[in-house]
Symmetry: C2
DNA sequence: CGTCAAATTGACAAGGCTCAAGTGCCGTGG
DNA sequence: CCACGGCACTTGAGCCTTGTCAATTTGACG
């Protein structure tokens, strides 16, 4: 990585440069974006459906998720996010938010004007390409998410969600796949998997009793990774590395 | 539209130009792409998971879907496609397919080298922008799909799927929202909504008995559109017009 | 007219939901 | 330092939506 001074863009740049070779100049131009840092409490809504968005939001610390609400108030989480994730690339090209973005823990984000990002992309197409790839990886994860919710039973769904989250945390340097922190409640897990929190609890118990995972509070240890992969039907190819 | 001669790119261009103003030159450069037409029988697989893809595939006539398979063989359809849809933009930036693309009816497609498309995008950023927007709209539809499968009951799911498909057909000029052709089997509908074909049948019967829809063979008439929207919890904002 | 895939219907089983009660943990205030 | 309150977690009992299995009908097509 270029300049060694720690900054809000470090995690993002680490991710973008995994698959896209960005040169010093490109990296520097990203680091030079004017930004506005902001803190959010756990459970705060950063972006809500219908909102007009003119700033781009990058998660610097903490955890967040995107979700949509059904008419009966049911919440469906469609993705989890960790430090380094851009929370709303889609607003580069769409004015209006079509879903909500909410923090899971206390979180630090930086906003920068979408206008500046658009200009940057025009001047440096490689950056656009890196971001586009990020969007495509996002869509790939969404497709797997549909499969998970639509075609797997409760135990598999939860196991799969845990595997994916473990992989995401590891890629972001937030833990090893064998041992990481789950920031979300069992209610959140239910909203992500299309189950109730009660049933999530029962399935976590089953996974624990079977010795596939071990839990202490919200710390998760995947005790038997090969069996976990099998229980979860987890084939990480869909997580195109840059995701 | 520029040249009035009917061609394989007409439907795509109609879609892309809804929100992106492409000039004559840009439109011409798309029309000039070297292409290889091909026909597929109903149920044929066009792209399968793991395959290395070097050509871009545009659906010219007929219907198709994308799907993923679970370890137990269960199939989850993640999107339906009509004439004018590009079936694999993601391979612009990813080599390997992470899902399957299959025809639903007999279909006509054209392939053109991904290399040419990449060059075109570099030369004419507006085209890249239009395609990027298309990807983002795709992701938005996927998020709604997750919500549909994860948080709505069987009747709503099916009603929602029908509304979305009606909107897609109308946008592609393939019918009015009140009256259109369903190309897929009830098994396909089940695979798209995370239900069994048996239960899809039951729910279609309920919707019919309630007078919300009317069916003759695979023709669907939405008899009571306001009620249908309500039953389906259908708010079409997520279908960003260019989709 | 025969064949085959899709649609339809019924009976029964089961996975997951609802409702309800109780437990544990942690931050706050006295 | 302890008591309290709130939220998340845990567990049980019974119900309901959806799945499974199986038989039958319909429709398209050769």
């Amino acid at each position: 990585m270029a300049s060694s001074r720690a900054g809000p863009f470090d995690a993002l740049l680490r991710k973008l440069t995994v698959l896209n070779k960005l040169n010093e100049e490109e990296i520097h131009s990203i680091r030079s974006l004017p930004l506005r840092p902001q803190h959010f409490k756990a459970g705060a809504t950063i972006i809500s459906t219908g909102q007009l968005v003119s700033e781009c939001c990058l998660l610097v610390e903490g955890y967040a998720c995107r979700h949509k609400l059904a008419s009966d108030g049911g919440r469906q989480i469609v993705s989890f996010h960790v430090a380094g994730d851009i929370l709303d690339v889609q607003h580069l090209l769409f004015e209006k938010a079509d879903h909500n973005v909410q923090t899971i823990t206390d979180a630090a984000v930086v906003f920068f004007p979408m206008r500046d990002l658009r200009r940057l992309i025009e001047e440096r197409p490689e950056i656009g390409k890196a971001l586009w790839r990020d969007c495509l990886a996002d869509a790939s994860v969404l497709r797997e998410w549909v499969l998970n919710v639509g075609r797997r039973d409760a135990k598999m769904r939860i196991a799969h969600m845990l595997c994916e989250f473990a992989a995401k945390c590891e890629a972001a340097g937030l833990g090893s796949p064998a041992h990481f922190m789950l920031p979300m409640t069992q209610e959140d897990i239910g909203d992500a998997t299309g189950l109730t929190s009660v049933h999530v609890n029962r399935m976590l118990r089953v996974l624990t009793d079977e010795g596939v995972i071990a839990r202490t509070g919200r710390e998760i240890r995947i005790a038997d990774w090969p069996r976990m992969k099998e229980v979860a039907d987890f084939q990480p190819d869909y997580l195109h590395p840059a995701a």
